[in-house]
Symmetry: C2
Subunit: 274 residues, 2 copies
Amino acid sequence: MDPKQVSQVEEVPPTHPRYWSLVTRQKLVDALREGIVVPHGLISHGRGEAFDYLLGERSHDFAVEAERAAVAAMMVARKPIISVNGNYAALAADEIVQLSEVLGVPIEVNLFHRTEERIKRIEDFLKAHGAKLVYGVDCQKTRLPNLQSPRGVVCVNGIYSADFVLVAIEDGDRTEALRRLNKVVVAIDLNPFSRTAQAASITVVDEAIRATRNMIRLAEELKGRPKDDLRLILASYRNSEILSRAFKALLERLSIAASKGVVLDLGFPDEISL
Amino acid sequence: MDPKQVSQVEEVPPTHPRYWSLVTRQKLVDALREGIVVPHGLISHGRGEAFDYLLGERSHDFAVEAERAAVAAMMVARKPIISVNGNYAALAADEIVQLSEVLGVPIEVNLFHRTEERIKRIEDFLKAHGAKLVYGVDCQKTRLPNLQSPRGVVCVNGIYSADFVLVAIEDGDRTEALRRLNKVVVAIDLNPFSRTAQAASITVVDEAIRATRNMIRLAEELKGRPKDDLRLILASYRNSEILSRAFKALLERLSIAASKGVVLDLGFPDEISL
């Protein structure tokens, strides 16, 4: 399809009741055109949207608690890394770069649907947003022993040797593989049922942009604290409890809806007249 | 991006735990490449997928009840029509054609991201799947008075003059506009919170392929019944109750999950060791 034509037809009128949600989607659609995101990435985004809908599109307390533990773990880790895929870059490039800068944690571009061309494109995209520490096309590569190639390709000095990996909107199979290699994995994922959410050491059930912004704020807050304080945060953290609270939040919203059925009063009658 | 290259990188290994779900997605991705589906359609599909996950990927009793009422309404209506967009065509072309045939109800290709080129493509796609009664590029056109063009463009002898419209995976704003024109609107939508689900006369909270298959079966069952029987089905139907039961089903699944937190036992410890 001709990209120009697509961009023409996809103009959404500002009178649309969900205008802003549709405009956010446009970010991903634009990234598809630029080769940053693959078509499957759009489906993942939609899946996340559904859960954010259920959560009321805000960062809950269980998310902030996980974000705090994630930052503490990143600061305690010997060799932390932020793994970035197409969706995460497209949505939150500025925030990723800022988080990387605040804590001096490098970024690795790592893709499920890997091509060196797309790695390069995302690397350039992040660098254009100010990223300095990026493992991309030029790193020394190896393979994770427990993932079929090319999905298991990683940088030797990046994910391969890291003891901590932050992933966002990631595939569950890969999250599990990282975990089986005894790495601490923080996953940003709006779906607490997903394999990623279930497999992670710390699950941030929050939207990627909001989550990363919260983590930047928390990094600034926790910076300079003694390591023992940070270890205390980790010692008292239980991911199963966080997941449980995430499910409960979804539950509460649904309880209200279940008692009413109609949650948007549009003024239509319940009867069918034909 | 070169389509050949994309199709190469998107091969999913059969060892992946969610192989079949990923293969179904591929249908939509292929349709994107053929110009049947727009990028935004993939996001919508993802949103639906998430709700189907929560529903356990099966047709619940509240869905079948709505499907039965939908078929009854279609049989009682003076001038019913099946509105088909890119996603619905890509997922369920065979089923749409069969439903259209069984009840003699025509199809109109109607798009949110409308171009005459894409209308033609979907029209041809449906005809290749055996559709005979299709309003597409060649119909006499007019506009719905309450929708900004080109989103309001419809066929005079199709949606414009219909008293019943079946839509699937539709935009909420458009569903609402059809409803305000006093049409009976049946919406197939997996998200009971959506404006479409909330605005419809009959909301089928079910996956589009399953829903259409159920409706074909119900049409064969109800065919030949006196109109008074069909009107009785409609008289006892209450959409707010159906929506309420849909929310309750989501609630039940989540209640079990909320009590446990970890719902997939992958054998990882709850403690974080760094």
